[in-house]
């Protein structure tokens, strides 16, 4: 394929093995893998630092790693059979929401606007990195209570009021930053109680971690199909990476791994998933009924607790993009329950990620040519 760069091919085992762990193929514990992925930076369209972490993480447990021309990382785990029973593509997006510099103010502050869906109410007192000529730390300030007009207290601050302070003069900022440079949230993920973790970009690095768990599981399981793990780019602004990588791979089956809204006060129960309740198997127009049934059947067979997520809208995940590529792809969607989506404190249960990875691995090993052929029988 044109314009693709082979990063690490078969036999190149050992590349990127600066990760810890002695067990063959198992290079990092799930929790550490999620945190490492989530801490990496990769604002939509500028995913390469996060892509590098993905590449390093998977290097020893897949057979091929390459990046397509948009930057999606495509990793192949070959099936046992020389004639693979099917090509399964698993997609989780590697991009994250962030901001972009829109103006450098004469007073030495930066105006920013959103990249992907950012509720500006999360921004006051947020620490950020401005990816200029070099990475620069910044703080989004908030007007102190002492200087506020009391009648404004019920309103949220507008984008124009949420400027970034880098501790630099306008002159110096103009040397280092240009309009159009991206800005990411500074957040090091933390462990909470009960094996829950919180940080930025769990949407959808948690999905990438599910693929990692699956790849680790597949070291132990026999599978005849070829499995392509794809860390897709530009999902947050319209699934660009998923559209192009699906075109390149031409899979028989496409499974998207994304996050679903976790339970919290103020949200209706029917719109949320239970944190720690296991993977959510999604159903709706974006999902092939046979794949939905197969995922449920396998979860029950293997004793994996799961939840069903019924969604009527086709939009919102890579499953939508995969479904409509070339002559059509049968799709499925597994969602990891996640609280506070699109904030810098997205919170999840590590167990849900592990279980999602296991479910996906059992599914991949169960797909045979009969199942593949049956997908056109409605």
């Amino acid at each position: 394929m044109a314009n693709t760069k082979k990063v690490c091919g078969p036999g190149a085992v050992g590349q990127g093995r600066h990760l810890m762990g002695a067990e063959r193929g198992r290079v990092m514990d799930t929790k550490q893998a999620i945190l490492r992925l989530a801490d990496a930076r990769g604002v939509t369209g500028y995913e390469s630092p996060a892509g590098d972490v993905v590449t390093a993480l998977f290097a020893d447990i897949v057979d091929e790693v390459r990046r397509d021309s948009l930057g999606s990382v495509i990793m192949l785990k070959r099936g046992a059979s020389p004639k693979p029973s099917a090509k399964i593509m698993v997609a989780a997006h590697v991009d994250e929401i962030g901001m972009i510099v829109s103006k450098i103010e004469d007073e030495g502050f930066l105006q920013v606007r959103m990249m992907g869906g950012v509720d500006r109410r999360i921004l006051p007192s947020m620490e950020v990195t401005v990816h200029g000529r070099r990475d620069i730390s910044g703080v989004i300030g908030a007007i102190p209570p002492h200087l506020q007009d009391p009648k404004d207290k019920d309103k949220s601050w507008k984008w124009e009021e949420l400027v970034v302070d880098c501790g630099m003069s306008a002159e110096r900022l103009r040397e280092l930053v240009r309009v159009g440079d991206v800005v990411s949230f500074d957040r090091t993920g933390v462990e909470l109680a009960n094996d829950r973790i919180s940080g930025k970009s769990m949407d959808d690095r948690a999905g990438v971690a599910v693929m990692y768990e699956c790849a680790v599981e597949l070291q132990k399981l026999k599978h005849d199909c070829d499995v392509y793990f794809v860390a897709t780019v530009q999902e947050e602004v319209g699934y660009g990476g998923s559209i192009t990588s699906t075109y390149g791979i031409t899979p028989d089956i496409g499974i998207a791994i994304d996050v679903g809204h976790g339970d919290m006060p103020g949200l209706p129960e029917h719109h949320t998933l239970k944190l720690g309740g296991g993977p959510a198997i999604s159903y709706g127009p974006h999902v092939h009924p046979h794949i939905f049934s197969k995922l449920k059947e396998i979860a029950e067979e293997r004793g994996i607790a799961y939840q069903v997520e019924a969604g009527t809208s086709p939009r919102g995940t890579d499953a939508y993009a995969m479904q409509m590529t070339r002559s059509g792809v049968a799709t499925g969607l597994i969602s990891v329950p996640l609280r506070y989506m699109h904030t810098s404190v997205e919170t999840l249960s590590v167990e849900d990620v592990k279980k999602s990875g296991q479910l996906l691995a059992f599914f991949a090993s169960a797909v045979d040519s009969r199942f593949r052929e049956g997908l056109t029988c409605f």
């Binding site: 703080v139 102190p144 880098c166 006060p265 699109h342």
Partner: protein, 350 residues
């Protein structure tokens, strides 16, 4: 760096234990006496060579923050503000809960499930819950107690060209300046008062001043600086980079002109840059100290801090250097020229 250590120590009003212990350890080698009074003020004495006058430096140890006030059935914690915290700065922030500093996060509803007009409204304190990972109320109650303090999880680190970011610069900058001042012996007895509960109504300072009974007091504070675009000039308050701010009055008090003049003369003689604070909002410990007993002449020197009372404030490091320096030079001037209150005053003399 001492300021980073003080900034990262926790101590909401009424629960100043950690910051008090930190300061106590820092000053122990330099002072002659350390006393903790019944409401928690830490008062240190550095004896003077003659000891004929008593001078008090005051800075508050406490910081604004939150306190646990309830539990949701799903294990999330209800909190309320301690001191002036705008709920709008809390969304999507990391905090430490309780004495063992359990990590917690303050989340919000996802943008996907909001109505467009929701984003124009400020989030209310009632909707801001702390998630420590507890599975339910019983689980949360095992980890956290009602009344536990909640502080911002912010690292104090350099920022850009000669700036520093961190929490609680209001008023750990003042604590830092007093710690430096206590290292030097003067003619007079120097009292360093690290006060409690300033943020909830200036409660500690008057009590400390009553015990010390000083001839003169200087309050070392952190104050607002809002030089961001579109701010009307009269609201800018102070400007980082222009030196420590001398305060002539605030909501709680009017400064002693004789001390203010001496501060200005001292700064000018040593070419230390300074500015005057241009707003009179907010109160300081000087409001209490000034009205203690029969009245104590007092003045305030403030450190300009952007974004105070939020999880992350910003200061200019050369301002900070000059702030500490001005405090030291002022004390030196008392040795050289005597107390400014003696000049044409009917107060008691040395």
């Amino acid at each position: 760096m001492l300021l980073a250590k003080l900034s990262e120590a926790s101590g909401i009003s009424g629960q100043e234990g950690e910051i008090r212990a930190t300061i106590r350890n820092e000053i122990a080698p330099y002072v002659d006496e350390i006393k903790i009074d019944p409401i928690g003020n830490l008062v240190a004495l550095k004896r003077g060579r003659t000891g004929k006058a008593r001078v008090m430096l005051a800075a508050h140890m406490d910081e604004v923050g939150l306190m646990v006030v309830g539990f949701e059935s799903n294990g999330l914690l209800h909190v309320d503000s301690v001191g002036g915290v705008d709920p709008r700065v809390l969304v999507s922030k990391m905090v430490y809960v309780g004495r063992n500093k359990l990590p917690g996060v303050i989340g919000s509803k996802p943008i996907h499930l909001l109505e467009r007009e929701d984003m124009d409204r400020a989030t209310k304190m009632d909707a801001l819950l702390v998630d420590i990972g507890a599975k339910n109320k019983e689980d949360a109650e095992k980890l956290v107690k009602l009344g536990d303090p909640v502080v911002f999880a912010t690292k104090c680190e350099p920022l850009g060209d000669g700036f520093m970011k961190g929490k609680a610069f209001d008023d750990r900058v003042g604590c830092c300046a007093i710690i430096e001042a206590l290292k030097v012996q003067h003619d007079f007895d120097l009292y360093g008062a690290f006060t409690v509960q300033e943020e909830v109504g200036l409660r500690g300072a008057g009590v400390a001043a009553f015990q010390i009974e000083p001839d003169l007091a200087i309050v070392l504070e952190g104050t607002t600086a809002h030089d961001v675009p579109e701010t009307p000039e009269h609201s800018v308050s102070t400007v980082p980079g222009k030196g420590p701010a001398i305060v002539y009055m605030d909501r709680s008090w009017v400064g002693d002109k004789r001390i203010i003049d001496r501060l200005v003369e001292t700064a000018e003689a040593a070419s230390v840059p300074y500015q005057f604070k241009r707003t009179v909002t907010g109160g300081t410990d000087a409001g209490r100290i000034g009205l203690t007993r029969e009245g104590i002449p007092a003045a305030v020197v403030s450190m300009p801090c952007r974004f105070i009372h939020s999880p992350v404030s910003v200061i200019n490091l050369s301002d900070f250097e000059n702030y500490v320096k001005l405090a030291g030079l002022f004390l030196d001037s008392l040795d050289e020229r005597g107390l400014p209150i003696d000049e044409g005053s009917c107060k008691k003399t040395n």
